[in-house]
């Protein structure tokens, strides 16, 4: 079953394949590679996804943004509901913009502006929902705050976003996932190696991060992943 997926590397995200030691951003000794080539495929239920779809399934013609890059399942699922889908390969552009060791330049204002122009250059209130997946885990504070602020601007009030964060707050690396929608409450999760997150979050830090938003709701999965529904 996995055979056709062997050549796949986090969907189309273009994250460089592993190997070698990665120099840390703080100039310390090299750390383990942030990515590797092993592929694991699994399916699990997702309360967060279910909650997200409750908000968008009864109305057609909505505009949904998927930051996970285009996959057949997600495109088909969203468009079959009658919605218009925008696709952004967020982590691929992150890697293209900031390089492999992407915690180095993520606080550079010029680069941040360039990155936002590449990924989230949309009119105010343009989207009726955003599938953020786990993309925010790989942003350092300066870039993260800029991205969250931009999301707040381009998503219409009362709309919802779905984001995932690892629940462990002491991890050197987290599984690198691609999420494919199976059903309204079920995800196919493709794990392709590991990647070092820029920062990890607990409930309090997430509430602070999304402090400008109307509400934040958490679901903890068996994989120790926080599924977060954010109401704009």
């Amino acid at each position: 079953m996995l055979e056709p997926l062997k050549s796949l590397f986090r969907g189309s995200r273009g994250v460089p394949q592993g190997g070698g030691l990665v120099p840390p951003s703080n100039g310390g000794k090299p750390q383990r590679p942030r990515v590797s080539a092993e592929t694991i495929l699994s399916t699990r239920t997702s309360r967060g996804l279910e909650e997200f779809f409750i908000q968008i399934r009864d109305t057609s013609g909505l505009t949904i943004l998927d930051l996970g890059g285009a996959t057949q399942k997600n495109v088909s699922f969203i468009t079959d509901l009658g919605h218009r889908l925008y696709s952004e390969d967020f982590l691929r552009i992150l890697t293209d913009t900031f390089g492999l060791d992407d915690t180095v330049d993520q606080s550079n204002p010029g680069r941040i502006e360039y990155f936002l122009k590449q990924t989230l250059d949309y009119p105010e209130g343009h989207f009726d929902g955003v599938l953020v997946w786990d993309a925010l885990e790989y942003l350092n504070p300066a870039l993260l705050n800029a991205v969250v602020e931009r999301l707040h601007k381009i998503v219409r009030p009362k709309a919802y976003m779905l984001a995932f964060f690892h629940a462990d707050d002491k991890l050197d690396a987290v599984p690198l996932y691609t999420f494919r929608i199976e059903q309204v409450n079920s995800l196919e999760v493709l794990q392709q190696g590991m990647r070092r997150p820029a920062q990890l979050f607990n409930n309090r830090s997430l509430e602070k991060l999304f402090g400008r938003f109307e509400s934040v709701k958490f679901f903890l999965t068996r994989e120790r992943l926080r599924e977060v529904i954010i109401k704009v």
Binding site: L8, S12, G69
Partner: protein, 153 residues
């Protein structure tokens, strides 16, 4: 087609499609009344409304594209309208907005833009399909059934 410099045709069979070879660059408008295979560079517009456009692995299209069917193995920058379907193959790159009836995206393809699925409109004047008459109804007059073949192509 117009504005097309002399093209170098590939020796292999493209299924009868007109070909823009990988050493050819076209700037301008292309109107095609046959299938078209682009393995070179095109800047401008491409229209093959009743036909299939294939952008080969070496192909680079910076153009608004309209075709019945679009298959991308190379790169397209521009909006794409495909009345039937669009296929974005592994390693292909498409940046632009898509309007189509069906879309196929292979893993490993890069896409940035929006997707509008536009269901094809039924042919004008075609009668709406009716449910089959109940089995208990004796010898119904197949008025609807008689007209149904007109819908088939």
């Amino acid at each position: 087609m117009s504005s097309m410099p002399p093209a170098r045709f590939e020796p292999e069979n493209r299924g009868g499609a007109a070909t823009i070879g990988k050493a050819v660059k076209v700037v301008g408008q292309i109107f095609s009344r046959e299938d078209l295979y682009v393995d070179g560079e095109v800047e401008g517009t491409i229209e093959a409304l009743e036909h299939k456009l294939t952008v080969g692995p070496n192909g680079s299209v910076s153009a608004a594209v309209k075709a019945r069917e679009v298959v991308v193995l190379g790169t397209i920058k521009g909006n794409v309208e495909a009345t039937d379907k669009i296929e974005i193959r592994k390693d292909a790159k498409l940046t632009g907005d898509i309007r189509t009836a069906r879309i196929i995206i292979e893993d490993g393809a890069y896409f940035k833009g929006s997707i509008d699925i536009v269901k094809p409109e039924p042919a004008k004047g075609a009668p709406k399909a009716q449910p089959a008459p109940a089995a208990a109804t004796p010898a119904p007059q197949p008025t609807v059934a008689a007209s149904a073949p007109e819908n088939k192509r």
